[in-house]
Amino acid sequence: MRYEPVVAATVIGMLGNSPEAEDVGQETFIRFYKSLKNFRGDSSVKTYITRIAMNQAINEIRRRTRRGKVFSSAPADEIGDVPDRSSTGSDGPDPEVVQRAIQKLDDDFRSVIVLRLIDGYSTAETAEILNIPVGTVLSRLSRAQKRLRDLLKPVAGEL
C-alpha cells in the first residue's frame, strides 16, 4: 500500500505501538476510500490521508481519555528503562527511547513533532494538516523539542 508508511508513522507516532493503532490505521484507509468522491484535490493525496490519520488518532486519544485508560504505568517524566546507544557503541539514545519520549508529550506538542520530524512535512504543511497558523506550529515545535530534550536527558548525557 503506497500510503501505509505515512499513515503508520502518523498513527503509531501519536498512539504508540498499541493494538488500537492498527484499528485506527484501518479506519483511516476506509474513511479515505469513502471520502474519495469528496476529495477536491486542493491538497496532495498524502496530505489529505495524513489529515484523516491525524484526526482519527486524536479521536482515539480522546476516547482513551474518556475511558480513563492509562497510557503507561511510568510517571510523566520517566520514559522507561531502556539502555542508551552508548552502551552498544553508538552515539545518543536508542530511537525507541526517543519514540517513548514522544509518547510522553502533550497531544498538541506530539502532533507537531510527528508531522514535522517523523513524517517530514514542512511547517506550512503541518499547519495545513492541523488547521493552525504556521506561527503556532513553530512555537509548539520549539516548546516540544525543549520538553523532549528534558525527557531524554536522564537516559543520554549528551541530551
Partner: protein, 145 residues
C-alpha cells in the same frame, strides 16, 4: 544562555531567520560551547525521531483493509437490496389497499343512497355514543336489547 538566542536556535531548524537574526545566532554559536552542544543534541534528537518511526502496521495490513472494505460494501449492497424489495412490496400493498378503500367508499355511498361523508364511511344512521348517553335509560336498554 540568553532566551532570545535559544529561541533563534530552535526557530532556525524549522523556519527562516532574518539576516540580522541569523548573524546574531551565528555569533552566539561561535562564542558558546553550550549552545553548540544544544544544537547538536537537537539535530541528533530529530534524526532519531525519524529513525524510530514505524514503517508499517505489520504483515497483511493491506489485505485486512481490503477485506473490511469489501465486507462493508457487501453489507451496504445487502441493505440496499432489502429496502428495494421492501419498497416494491409496499407499493403493491398500497395500491391494493387504495383500490379496496375506493371500492368501499363507492359501496357505502350506494348503500346509503346519498352522497355525504357519513354515507361514504358507512356511518349514516348509526347511533352515536352521545345519543346513547343522553337517552333515557329504558329507551337505551330497549334499543340495546
Amino acid at each position: 544562555m540568553e532566551e532570545r538566542i535559544r529561541e533563534l536556535l530552535y526557530r532556525s531548524l524549522d523556519g527562516e531567520l532574518s539576516p540580522d537574526e541569523k548573524k546574531d545566532l551565528d555569533a552566539a554559536l561561535a562564542g558558546s560551547q553550550e549552545l553548540r552542544r544544544e544544537r547538536d543534541d537537537l539535530l541528533m534528537m530529530r534524526g532519531l525521531a525519524k529513525d524510530g518511526a514505524a514503517p508499517s502496521f505489520g504483515p497483511f495490513f493491506a489485505q485486512r483493509v481490503m477485506n473490511t472494505i469489501r465486507s462493508e460494501r457487501e453489507e451496504e449492497a445487502a441493505g440496499a437490496r432489502f429496502f428495494e424489495s421492501l419498497l416494491h412490496t409496499f407499493r403493491r400493498v398500497a395500491l391494493v389497499g387504495a383500490a379496496i378503500a375506493v371500492f368501499l367508499l363507492i359501496y357505502n355511498i350506494n348503500q346509503g343512497g346519498s352522497v355525504s361523508v357519513a354515507a361514504a364511511f358507512g356511518t349514516e344512521g348509526e347511533t352515536t355514543i352521545e345519543e346513547v348517553l343522553t337517552a333515557p335509560v329504558e329507551e337505551t336498554l330497549e334499543e340495546l336489547l
